[in-house]
Symmetry: C2
Subunit: 343 residues, 2 copies
């Protein structure tokens, strides 16, 4: 997708290091960073320089290829990379795509690049498959960032939006700001601005009242992991959005590539939920009047916070799952059908 | 309530000016400000130096008494003060308490002070009436600030908490941070810390998942206006909290003095909802590493936002209304009973 008039992916291989757009600095600075070792790849994932379930899978795949090239202990590299973030299943899928080729550095890199290209194709297909949900001027609420920085080149939820925009449907997006890390205000807003899509930012807790006022036609979010029964783990705040959508009969869809589905996990209750530092809630990051990056403390000096990074949305609240295999019900049967169609 | 080892109200009369704790500076600075004219009172309310429905009613009452003393045009002063914030009915109630006495500056001031004392009594009674809802170690979620800074001396929702704490019940509070102005992280956290009450701050959108995990026994919020049918206008984010509470069968109570009830308003749909500046959503305020106050920009420079300051929680989601008249159902009959008991 576009940054100014150039085309970028979130992560790409460039003759040795893996390059990535440092998502911590957006929207205030557009900076390309490098990871030269698998340890640097792990750090970029853990510290959220690279984020978004499909994108971290691609990043991890490249990390394992770097480990193979560098003659590192592969099992150890695999374990380290997998532990960087616990919730997104894509991380393991990306590693597994490379793991059986690590005896040859060339083939390991080839496997990582193939995984990358497959994720780009899946993200593009999600938009094509899902765009039928969008009419002229559809007003769509989304949460966190499920755009091209989260899922290489097209995104998941935002892939539908970009497709609809190109089809001349002129969608309008309500982007939830997504406390505590504000991926909505920072990254989704930046992506939509670069692509010229109409949007407004909304405090997360205001979405329900916008639905009550009839301002939202459709909710689409991404996912970090989808269980075999259709339960969805996604960024904290997805679940209350789904509760509000049901109350107001607003369709609630989840968009994700098949790499985000974990059929080995029976229900959402089995998905490990990452607890992140209380500091994320007690502070906020942005730029001051001079344009310099600054982290401010909001709460009293001795305050504490509880900071689960994800929540579980039960399948019963999900109108449908959109993947490269089309739109299916959020159920075991629906998911089996999607995998059958893709096979 | 306590600030260190001294006792303060949010607003008080001091031989001429009305003094107030400037709530915009909390928790980082404790500063007492003065309003010397009714225009300065209006400004303190509009700019949220003073906030919380009952407290702004007391502040406005003093403003009208100052206008009477200064020989201002009373009708104009009334209109200006009432327009400072549109949603809280208490603003008008505070003004009306003084209005019929404005021909005598002394009696106007007396009426303002009587209104103040009545609000303190009501806030204290709310805690006494509602504390039966609290058992040993009850884990209570609250939103925004419904403490002694919002309702003179005791608070509304937090009046129950302070009473329970004094009764040795050791409650634990989950304080929703309350974007965009973060009254939960800033003010509720500060109040609870000063009173030694156990608490953790939570991103607003994480409350539903805490309920799903069984961590919350009870939700109590304040209100800015309660309609004749029991619909509640309160800080944006109250409504999704009520939806989540219903889903998880967590009792959801609203605490407010009778001055917050507007029986002239049939339902919540008739309550005017204040829209505040998009800048509140696009920025955040706190202190930097040096302890200096700073406002940071989060979103891209050209971003826009939609920022309703309140939402409506339908009476059907409210387990009960707690006022100085006791606990009643959130219904026309319940509200009539409360006013009957108080008469």
């Amino acid at each position: 997708m576009r940054v100014g008039d150039r085309h970028f992916r979130a992560v790409w291989w460039e003759d040795g290091p893996v390059r990535f757009i440092d998502q911590r600095l957006l929207p205030h600075k557009f900076e390309i960073a490098s990871a030269r070792s698998y340890a640097e790849v792990e750090n970029a994932i853990r510290e959220m320089g690279v984020r978004g379930a499909p994108t971290i899978g691609v990043m991890a795949a490249h990390g394992l290829a770097i480990a193979a090239r560098d003659g590192e202990k592969i099992e150890h590299a695999y374990g380290t990379l997998q532990a960087a973030r616990p919730t997104a299943v894509n991380l393991r899928v990306g590693l597994d795509a490379v793991m059986s080729h690590t005896d040859s550095p060339e083939r390991a890199l080839e496997a990582a690049r193939a995984h990358d290209d497959a994720e780009v194709s899946a993200a593009e297909a999600i938009g094509r498959m899902g765009v039928e949900l969008m009419s002229q001027g559809t007003r769509v609420a989304t949460h966190c960032n499920a755009g091209w920085l989260a899922a290489q080149d097209w995104g998941t939820a935002l892939s539908l939006i970009y497709r609809a925009e190109r089809d001349g449907k002129m969608p309008h997006i309500y982007a939830g700001e997504t406390r505590p890390r504000l991926q909505g205000s920072r990254i989704t807003a930046w992506e939509l601005g670069q692509e010229g899509v109409s949007y407004e930012i909304v405090a997360d807790s205001a979405m329900a009242s916008l639905m009550r006022r009839g301002l939202i036609d459709l909710v689409i979010t991404g996912a970090d992991c989808i269980a075999a029964n259709g339960d969805v783990a996604n960024k904290i705040g997805t679940y209350p959005l789904a509760l509000a959508a049901r109350e107001h009969e607003v369709p609630f869809y989840v968009a994700a590539p098949l790499t985000t589905f974990d059929r080995a996990v029976a229900t959402g209750d089995e998905i490990p939920i990452e607890e992140r530092s209380p500091d994320e809630v007690l502070t906020a990051e942005g730029v001051d009047a001079a344009g310099d990056s600054v982290r401010i403390r909001i709460a009293p000096a001795d305050a504490t916070a509880i900071n689960p990074a994800f929540d579980i949305t039960p399948a019963g609240l999900v109108s449908g799952l959109i993947s490269e295999a089309g739109i299916v019900p959020a159920s075991t049967a629906g998911i089996e059908r999607a995998f059958g169609a893709a096979a």
